[in-house]
Amino acid sequence: MQILGIGILTWIVFLPILAMILVLLVPKGREIWIKWISVVATGIQVILAVVLLLNYRYDLAGINTLEGFQFVEKYRWIDVSGVAWFGRIVIEYFLGVDGLSMPMVVLTALICFIGSIASWELPKAKGYYALYLLLDTGMMGVFVALDFFLFYIFWEVMLLPMYFLIGIWGGPRREYAAIKFFIYTLLGSVLMLLVMIGLYFSTSIIDPVTGEKVHTFNMLAMMDPKNYEPGAIFSGLHTTWRYIAYIALFIGFAIKVPIVPFHTWLPDAHVEAPTPISVILAGVLLKMGTYGMLRISFPIFPDGMLKYALPMAILGFINIVYGALAAMAQEDFKKLIAYSSISHMGYVVLGMAALNTQGVTGAIMQMFNHGTITAMLFLIVGVLYDRAHTRGLYEFGGLANQMPKYFGIVIVAFFAALGLPGLSGFISEAFVFLGAFQTYKWIAIFSATGVIITAGYILWTTQRLFFGQLPDRWKNLPDINARELVTLVPLAIIVIFLGVYPSPLINLMNTSVNHLVRFVSEMGQAGGMQIGILP
């Protein structure tokens, strides 16, 4: 479907860029315009996402079939009509959504919208919102790009804005956090780059137009073994190079997720970043790692995936428990939330490693739910920090009477985070475990202990902040205000709704998920490999 002759996905991706240009054009002293422009732009993005949702066809799978994708836009972007000694170079502007990306698109639009409202008070609005919108485009693009090159471009485009957003608007140790984030991610992405190039040379398709052999970055083409040229570096199944490539990709994505031990950038980045950026980081950026695995690593390297599924599951377990334990020992509210993010992303990894419908569904739901929940949590931290200018858990107490509305919201978010039934967090965690258990009994069981630890630190935090006697210095903390409510309540509603009735989300993805699972496991088993060796 198109708007003004331009595909809706293009709109949803590049709308922020337009807004950015507008923002840059706003004259000095008109800060308020800038804010409104951005909020409206992101708002429209949400509307577009809803439009997508309404026109979404649930029976299409996507993954590795072009006709399975929806709202596809596929144009030749770079087309170097080749020289004799080197076929044609084709890079496509290829966008489309399927069950994997649709939830992420919605999530991104939503979080960006909320983030832009939450950024209202920040200084240097012009630069901030310009970078923010650029970041928005980058993230949205990653989720809809189906051409590896395009994907990589969007992936990298986010780096610099994020560096500045953390580095300029961040907390005291912002420089350190920013550069750490930058270097880590770049390190991951250069590995990805090499693999991408290798794939590019290994695959070639017949150009429907001219009928000649064409190298392409098209992900779908890369998923089809038929397209691999014999003797190319990644051709065949279960070759050393393919394993190496899978691992390289995995590390590239794992850094974003982040999977222990590549996670240490996250606490710093989250803690130092300004609230809305923490929200974006935890809400959307982390998902890009796991999304990348589902979209690229698994279908393109099914053999590698199956070979390393067990280590991946173990990593997931480590993430869950390690993150939770580390969170329990934190004294800084925001840092605690950051570590809880690590723990929660562990569920995603575990679910994906299980490689069955429930596990993967759970994983994607967890991606979505964690996006909303952790966004709430960081907003909550922000609310408190804006008022008290400290995040030390030991400095508070008895806020439940001082800020009752706030308390109510926090309780919802917290219980969602500790996986209370009736709230969305539980559903995804339960599905992850149910899925993982079918593949890795013991890992699933051990990981489930993470739930207890989570309960531990969440309740401990609740008690520290809200129960007991209120210190005198906080006697006049105002309760949460309207703007903050506007950012928090929609998320709370989503969390509760999806907790009670997750079907909308599941139906959105399950065709694709089933297809993905079948595709990957069959591809891998073609090489006589199967998953689920009990540890």
Partner: protein, 696 residues
């Protein structure tokens, strides 16, 4: 009345309290009287509905009624088929009865609370939580599958968390709440693993389908036993069975009506209910395990209860011990008896708590009058002689006490007697003689400590004259529920014959479900054997039948002894408690300190977890970041030795690489000494080296 109407009613009964909750949580403060009446009214509504459901079910529908709907559908899944999760509602005699029990107690507690909580700061919030609890509890009762069972399981946990922590200004209260939730989580963890096993092997959550699947042998052997025990872990947590019983006494930090409703009558009984629900899938080993857990719990709790001086703590431990009783009876095969005891116990235990509540209420106000804010209004050593001042409370309390001690003409007698009979039979057939032994011993203990409580509280001379002056009987709104509950604790509610449990409607309408476990995993004495009169009855039923009379006598004897000792010690002072205590000082302190369970856990699990978590944090900061940053010391040393080097920029992972690169950079940089001839030496040297490298 049609089935769907029945279902509709039960759903309504389920949802009304929820509506109340939502109403109060959002508009509580603006509603008239902060909405307590609304909430109470709604609960009464669901009470009526559940009565309707109950009678209809009992009388019109012998078969269970089930209503399902598809909740989520994963579509067609490889080597699974169509994967979907259907939820729904199951109304059979068990749940119908439970429905009534819950709603009755709940509404009574609501009414009682109106008086008890009158001038509380968070009055409306309190009622909201009560409503939320009732909703979740009814959910547990009505659900037809493990999934929603788990869901509501956690929800009652939350409501109990919120209610225990209702006075969260008190650290002890919020601690207790936290403890309750986490300990329950531990149990639920086991429960969830059990569910995972069931789902993975049977591909459904629905009770009926699960049992059918087991019967088809899809799940058997050790895994089945494991599943059974793991599911029972949930019960261990909720029903405060050993070793997870530690949270319940602390939970008494909550308002007394809450203790009555949640921590005595309903929620804690949910564990028993769950065991009863899943009874069909329990293997012999699982049942033995359950029986022993129950027995041990009953014994430990009873022994502790003897030494406690806080009125609510005594009741709390008695609750634990009674729950252990039920569990034991389920484990030992006396299914109906266990459930029967659940029902009866709900009534009199709720009554006991509300009674104690009314006492505490009175004490509290009295102490308030004399401006004594240090004395603990709950300590029985400050009471005594309250009989004269608050007769209604006293007499109702007496009835409850008799009931719990299992004296004839009370409901307790009927249920307890059949439990003991079951234990008796079980011990005889299976050879686990410890079970009945403990059973009878605990019966005696129960009678003893309950009468100790009664005597110390109501009989004798008041310990504090000044306070005593100001003691008044509680208002109607509080006494009426007491009376109702007292009536409910009498035999005729259940059956005409005060001495024959088998004549009660409970035994008539509720039957032990047919075990679906493969026969080789059942007790052989539970297998039906053909006897001359057509009906297929098991060896166990036979033994049970024979065990009734001796069990009855024995239990009566034990109870009598207990009561006698209680009177000797505390009423007539023939035996000095102090002397006894001194005589067995070590034992006494051991019991007084609740077998040191809290200390044990605090020093093992909690400590370990915290330790590990600190370690994890340290590990993160020092080791991983250390590896990443290049450890601080080296960094300092380094930057010292090489002069200023911008560590702000090259920091982080950054540092390690920077550390290495920086090192080489420094070395290589030394070559760049600005003397062109030195450069030339390098060049020529390089030329030679290159030559000789590639020569070979």
């Amino acid at each position: 009345m049609a089935q769907d109407t029945l279902i509709l009613f039960s759903i309504l009964a389920l949802l009304l309290p929820l509506g109340g909750f939502l109403l109060l949580i959002f508009f509580g403060r603006r509603l008239p009287r902060q909405g307590d009446v609304i909430e109470t009214g709604l609960v009464l509504g669901s009470l009526i509905l559940s009565f309707v459901v109950f009678f209809n079910k009992i009388l019109n529908f012998p078969e269970p009624i089930e209503w399902k709907f598809e909740w989520v559908n994963f579509g067609f899944v490889k080597d699974w088929g169509e994967m979907k999760i259907t939820l729904g509602i199951l109304v059979d005699n068990l749940s119908a009865t439970m429905l009534v029990v819950v709603t009755v107690i709940s509404s009574l507690v609501h009414i009682f609370s109106i008086g008890y909580m009158k001038d509380d700061v968070r009055y409306s919030r309190y009622f909201a939580y009560l409503g939320f609890f009732t909703f979740s509890m009814l959910g547990i009762v009505l659900t037809n599958n493990f999934f929603t069972m788990y869901v509501f399981w956690e929800l009652v946990g939350v409501s109990s968390y919120l209610l225990i922590g209702h006075w969260y200004e008190k650290k002890s209260a919020s601690d207790a709440a936290k403890k309750a939730f986490i300990v329950n989580r531990v149990g639920d963890f086991g429960f969830f693993v059990g569910i995972m096993i069931i789902w993975a092997s049977l591909k459904t959550f629905n009770f009926g389908e699960v049992f059918a699947g087991i019967e088809q042998g899809k799940l058997s052997g050790g895994l089945l036993t494991a599943a059974g025990i793991l599911v029972f872990c949930g019960a261990i947590g909720k029903s405060a069975q050993f070793p997870l019983h530690v949270w319940l006494p602390d939970a008494m930090e909550g308002p007394t009506p809450v203790s009555a409703l949640i921590h005595a009558a309903t929620m804690v009984a949910a564990g028993v209910y769950l065991t009863a629900r899943t009874y069909a899938m329990m293997t012999a080993d699982a049942l033995t395990f359950i029986a022993y857990i129950g027995a041990i719990t009953a014994f430990i709790a009873a022994t502790i209860a003897i030494t406690q001086t806080d009125i609510k703590k005594v009741l709390a431990y008695s609750t634990i011990s009674q729950l252990g009783y039920m569990t034991m009876s389920l484990g030992s095969g006396a299914y109906v008896a266990g459930f029967f005891h659940l029902v009866t116990h709900a009534a009199f235990k709720a009554g006991l708590f509300l009674g104690s509540g009314s006492v505490i209420h009175a004490m509290h106000h009295a102490l308030h009058k004399v401006h004594d804010h240090h004395t603990d209004p709950q300590d029985i050593r400050n009471m005594g002689g309250l009989k004269k001042k608050m007769p209604v409370t006293y007499y109702t309390f007496l009835i409850y006490t008799l009931a719990i001690s299992g004296i004839p003409l009370t409901s307790g007698f009927l249920s307890k007697d059949s439990i003991l009979a079951g234990a008796f039979a079980f011990g005889k057939l299976s050879g686990h003689v410890l079970i009945p032994f403990i059973g009878f011993f605990v019966a005696g203990l129960t009678a003893f400590y309950m009468f100790r409580l009664l005597i110390l509280t109501f009989h004798g001379e008041p310990k504090r004259k000044d306070v005593f002056e100001h003691i008044h009987e509680s208002p109607k709104v509080m006494t009426v529920p007491l009376v109702i509950l007292a009536i409910l604790s009498l035999w005729f509610i259940f059956g005409p014959n005060p001495f024959d449990a088998s004549s009660t409607w409970v035994e008539k309408y509720i039957h032990k479900p047919r075990s679906v476990v493969p026969t080789q995993q059942q007790f052989e004495f539970n297998l039906p054997v053909k006897l001359e009169e057509g009906a297929a009855i098991t060896e166990y039923d036979h033994a049970l039948h024979k065990a009734h009379i001796p069990a009855m006598l024995l239990s009566l004897g034990m109870a009598g002894l207990g009561i006698l000792f209680a009177f000797l010690t505390y009423q007539w002072g023939k035996i000095s408690a102090e002397k006894v205590a001194n005589a067995i000082r070590p034992v006494y302190t051991f019991l007084k300190n609740k077998w040191y369970f809290d200390e044990l856990y605090a020093n093992t699990f909690v400590l370990a977890t915290l330790g590990i978590s600190r370690f994890a944090r340290w590990f993160d900061l020092k080791v991983i970041d250390g590896i990443v940053d290049g450890s601080a010391y080296l960094t300092k040393l380094w930057s010292f030795s090489i002069g200023k080097f911008d560590w702000n920029i090259i920091d982080g992972l950054v540092n390690l690489v920077a550390y290495v690169t920086g090192f080489f950079g420094y070395v290589v940089r030394l070559l760049q000494n600005g003397k062109v001839q030195t450069y030339i030496i390098y060049v020529v040297f390089a030329v030679i080296v290159l030559f000789y490298i590639f020569l070979g």
